[in-house]
Symmetry: C2
Subunit: 339 residues, 2 copies
DNA sequence: CTGTTAGCGCATTCAT
DNA sequence: ATGAATGCGCTAACAG
């Protein structure tokens, strides 16, 4: 038994004493006489007519919706991305629907197959982990996808990624310039896209600045969360005394801040801390957090634009964009008594 | 020109050499013979058949989607709510779609009319401001709505709200017990649902604890954000020296923490600070923030359950729930040297 | 157990 | 400029 009776083109047409085709034309901006337009508008108004989305979609094949899948709504970096995407998408006359997936690639695959049923015209995806299965699913998706984050070379999908290596390099350079010698890395899981990129960047920077590669200075949290960060940092401090910590994101960096405070270490005097993503959290932290801006907002906005273009022109050449990072220096690395 | 040709029931039926009805039955768990089931599954698999959502929705009147509208994705309290809703909704076999509206009621009205086109089966709405227009729009919505937050008595909509008055009372009681005398309020805009509730609770508590109602101890930020909070608190400290601050949410409370630190005041020795919503932010703050848990997660979960029930039974009696608050005490109000 | 058929609401082609 | 008719893909009556 279908839903409660509602308005419909036919009802409006009957009331206005015209054909459904005319109603459709008037309401969608087709050509119609002054008088007919008038009658139709009146009838539609009186009946509180609202066009039915599924009928229109069934007919036209378009939903005018764009989906954004984020792995963790609690991570402020995704908040930045949502904000950025919202703007672009609205301007292109799409509605944005946000789906929260877990970090499990299977969640994304499920979402993809769900979307393939026609809930949206396109998807912006920022996968934490990329598996072969996920790639297969993306490849065989009938709906356009733009990926935020790195992607294997041979996957012909629009994507826009950060330059983590350069970003981590910026942080390390800044720390080295401040005279730091023992720079630890607090990373998230290395089987994730950001985790592996951060690690690679860290190792490259060690080499570049002639710093020793000390395993006891590298810890991996079980997730990119505050709680996981606290544990990881506690472990780190149990086995070493770094004079600087680079964290894979701002949440982990705040965890370092709190853990350091708990052990009586002063920031930045004893230990400097750098976060990553440059989210609101960096500003709110005490001391405020120096953070690498990996261009999340720009990446998200760019991805949205790519998707809109891709939807308009499915045959357009694949584009891969890289957004350059920058460093936002705040209290957590700035000593008055800089050496 | 409709979208690129895809799979369809008819295609599967043709390949399997059966009728579309049989395919539909098999795929939806109707009764069918072993052999037919086998043939259909094979054909569907081979063709990569995916059912079309809009066609099904058009036919059944259901979308199996529930919409959640949040006013500010950047506010961690909404993150709590999203998490809570996600769980309930998934268990009831609905997909959740999140829409970010602004604080402007018009945004909600727009969203409502959009949803009335049939994008979702129900809506969970947590409006910041409630205007007559919004109420009209909710009343005339053809889709079930559950409101998180207070609502005028005469609006016959399911809703679940916090008990802000008691919540603020809890905070004040705690502060008074610690010997605080000059308790300031850092509120958000009072023309909002939470803003007015917080103010009322504060005034009631002043009376209850025989505290003077001093206007210079009450400031109103232009929004429930960190940035607005900094300005408001700076204004407050410019004109008075409270020994405690109650903030209308955790973001404003963190702003108070930072502003106090900037002026050299110690927390909690000189000034105690209490936040509200008990979000992750309270834990991350330095010092960690005592916060009133207004039951956001519980409210959201309850709202989701109410909505699922309402969708199943549109004629069910209207329910209004109130979730009791509790206090999470942390460093920002705990002096070692408690008087 | 399986097939035939109608129609959900709409945009669009084809007549007029 | 307007109306009649078609079919998007699907589910559910109904018939056999």
């Amino acid at each position: 038994m279908p839903a409660p009776k509602r308005s419909s083109l036919a009802l409006v047409a009957a009331r206005a004493g015209v054909s459904v085709a005319s109603v459709s034309r008037v309401l969608n901006g087709g050509s119609a006489s002054q008088e007919l337009t008038q009658k139709v508008r009146e009838a539609a108004e009186a009946l509180g007519y609202v066009p039915d989305a599924s009928a229109r979609t069934l007919r036209t094949g378009r939903t005018d919706q764009i989906a954004l899948a984020v792995a963790d709504v609690g991570n402020p970096v995704y908040v930045q991305m949502m904000r950025a995407v919202t703007g672009v998408v609205a301007k292109a006359d799409y509605r944005l629907v946000v789906s929260s997936t877990g970090s499990d690639p299977q969640d994304q695959i499920d979402l993809l197959s769900s979307l393939n049923r026609g809930y949206a015209d396109g998807l912006i995806l920022s996968p934490l982990r990329i598996t072969a299965d996920l790639i297969d699913a993306m490849r065989s998706s009938r709906l356009p996808i733009v990926v935020i984050g790195s992607l294997p070379e041979d996957v012909a999908l629009d994507n826009v990624r950060a330059d983590s290596a350069t970003g981590v390099g910026l942080a390390m350079e800044h720390l080295v310039a401040q005279g730091r010698k023992l720079i630890a890395l607090v990373n998230g899981p290395v089987d994730t896209v950001p985790g592996s990129a951060r690690l690679a960047g860290y190792l490259a920077a060690l080499e570049r600045f002639d710093l020793p590669n000390a395993p006891e200075l590298q810890v991996t949290a079980t997730g990119f969360t505050y709680r996981a960060g606290r544990k990881a940092v506690a472990g780190l401090l149990g086995g070493s005394r770094p004079d600087a910590i680079v964290a894979a994101n701002d949440l982990l960096a705040v965890a370092a801040l709190k853990e350091l405070a708990a052990t009586g270490a002063r920031v930045p005097e004893d230990v400097a801390v750098v976060g990553m993503d440059d989210t609101d959290t960096a500003e709110l932290a005490t001391p405020s957090l120096t953070s690498v801006d990996l261009g999340s907002a720009k990446r998200a906005a760019a991805a949205a634009k790519l998707l809109v273009r891709r939807i308009a022109d499915p045959a357009a050449p694949v584009r891969r964009l890289v957004i350059p990072p920058s460093l936002s220096v705040r209290e957590s690395t700035l000593q008055e008594t800089a050496q």
